[in-house]
Subunit: 339 residues, 2 copies
């Protein structure tokens, strides 16, 4: 039984005394960067190089706690990974909280603790923030925006529009676990197996790869909303190329396969929050894959496709049964509020 | 009468084809920075100096359209002004939209048009973004996060903790209009007079001032949530000083006064979104005030107080009737969802 005092009130967003107490007693207990602690309207930061990556994401995942993570760890992972995908070392995050009146302060503490842990793991810090409170019924609990700044590594130049004929397409691990973990929890399914989201900051996987193989890497992308299928379609479209995907090479773990069969999902359309796609010169692909497995900890890394010529942007799937079909962009909405 | 096709659907947030259409046909029609158009996960930017300001704010104002602005122009002004208050030239914004299923696409277009106009006025551009859609009932229409990056002007060093004994406190114009404009609209009041929010980007007011008087300015702050009272209390607290405020010098326009009397508000606690407070050496205050009036367009600029000694952080008000009282932080919530 939670008392009224354990819940967020409208006055926590007022700019007054109760808001100051919430910030001091709750938020700054977990987030302790000196830039944040002086509570100026903006943080003052020093950037090592003048070429930066800047990204933003708002997180509305439902439920907010799911196997393998919560909205806090997800909010850090999502923005950190977007910065990494631009070839940059993530440095600084902002944190914008919107809370519904009545939200449990205990849950907020749990989420802030997750944010802190994910930041420590990713090597970033929250340097500026904002907290708003809306009335009961005006929001489903909480939403979190994180924006982030990273320093682009010298010599690195990657973009979704740089895929080239002859590139190999590598995925860093098994796909779809984030989508399934959230859906299983949302639908109250009780299944055997170690079902958990793949969500995590990819700093440890991506930075060593970039430092070693900057010249060979053309595209980095994390297959979040819309999964591998949507992400590859975007890349094919931006780069004006045709991508062939080999279904048999795509790593999918057993419980993701089982739940997909049960619920009628295709793993290629499920979001990942701790996986990434790399397009490299095919001459470097074996070496890059070994490096990713042995040095970056990507145990299930796999070459899953190739870029085979220019086009208006097509993704073709060689199926396990031997046929070839077009892998389209998803059209409707399979998985609302998955991130 | 609006058709179903004129409204946001869950699939607009899916990462699939409908989302790509919304971004291309609606969002990019108004926001056309090349950094945004390539739709990578993060924008690649070049910063002129390596000392930057970074800020974030989420906007939940209700109603979303109010006299003098809307949630879009407010979202730009709020973050641009927070960057200016750190002594920085605002350069880049991110835009995080969260939309409720059923939100009118026509309203989204109006808001995007406001965002574009405010960005042009402020000299900034939206370089990265994110759009999420949540189910009907999970959000009250729309919320917008903007985060921003600015380049701190050489030689400028301002902070809420730099107020010094002997400083003069200047306000750039009449206070409280944003709070009253939103409340009047929210409550459906029909009043005479040109009632409108003061919300605007302060680039044109603040940058010339900083370029000319960097050495004399110690604190810059915009009195948003909690108004002048909360902002001065924060500064007094951070700087460990006592601030005396002269009530008779505080500019409040007639219709703000009238509505305050009608509804029982104190203008000192009302948020402004287009005003700022400056703490300067008292020896420079007359010259700075003239410059603000004549060059920066601050017609109602006024010296409203002084810093008179160290303390644990007090704000004292010399009232019009001649008494002195403590001006406290606001405690409860007068004005939920005001920004």
């Amino acid at each position: 039984m939670n008392n009224n005092k354990d819940r967020i009130k409208l006055a926590h967003g007022s700019g007054g005394g109760m808001m100051a107490d919430l910030i001091q007693d709750v938020i700054l207990r977990y987030l302790d960067a000196p830039e944040l602690a002086n509570l100026d309207d903006a943080a003052e930061l020093v950037i090592p190089h003048n070429r930066i990556a800047f990204s933003t994401d708002t997180f509305v995942v439902k439920p907010i706690f799911f196997p393998g993570g919560d909205i806090g760890s997800l909010a850090v992972s999502g923005t950190v990974n977007d910065i990494l995908m631009k070839g940059a070392r993530p440095l600084f995050l902002s944190l914008g909280l919107v809370l519904e009146e009545g939200f449990l302060i205990h849950d907020l503490r749990t989420i802030l603790q997750s944010i802190k842990q994910a930041c420590d793991y990713a090597g970033v810090k929250v340097v500026t923030g904002d907290t708003k409170v809306v009335g009961k019924g005006d929001l489903d609990g909480i939403c979190i925006n994180t924006s982030g700044i990273g320093s682009i590594l010298p010599g690195v130049d990657v973009s979704g529009s740089y895929a080239k004929t002859g590139d190999s397409v590598i995925v860093s691990g098994d796909i779809g676990a984030h989508g399934i973990a959230v859906m299983v929890k949302r639908n109250g399914l009780h299944l055997k197996g170690d079902i958990k989201s793949d969500a995590k900051p990819l700093t440890g996987e991506v930075l060593p790869l970039l430092e070693r193989y900057a010249d060979s890497i053309h595209v980095l992308r994390d297959p979040t909303r819309g999964g591998v299928a949507a992400t590859l379609n975007e890349i094919a479209d931006s780069s004006g190329v045709r991508i062939y995907l080999d279904e048999s090479a795509i790593p999918v773990n057993d419980w993701v396969k089982s739940v997909c069969e049960l619920l009628g999902f295709d793993p290629l359309y499920l979001p990942c929050e701790g996986r990434f796609l790399v397009f490299v010169d095919s001459s470097a692909s074996v070496e890059v894959m070994s490096f990713m497995r042995d040095t970056c900890g990507c145990h299930d890394v796999s070459v899953i496709g190739t870029v085979e010529g220019e086009s208006s942007g097509e993704v073709l799937l060689r199926t396990i049964s031997g046929g070839v079909r077009i892998l389209d962009m998803p059209v409707g909405e399979l998985l609302p509020r998955i991130c």
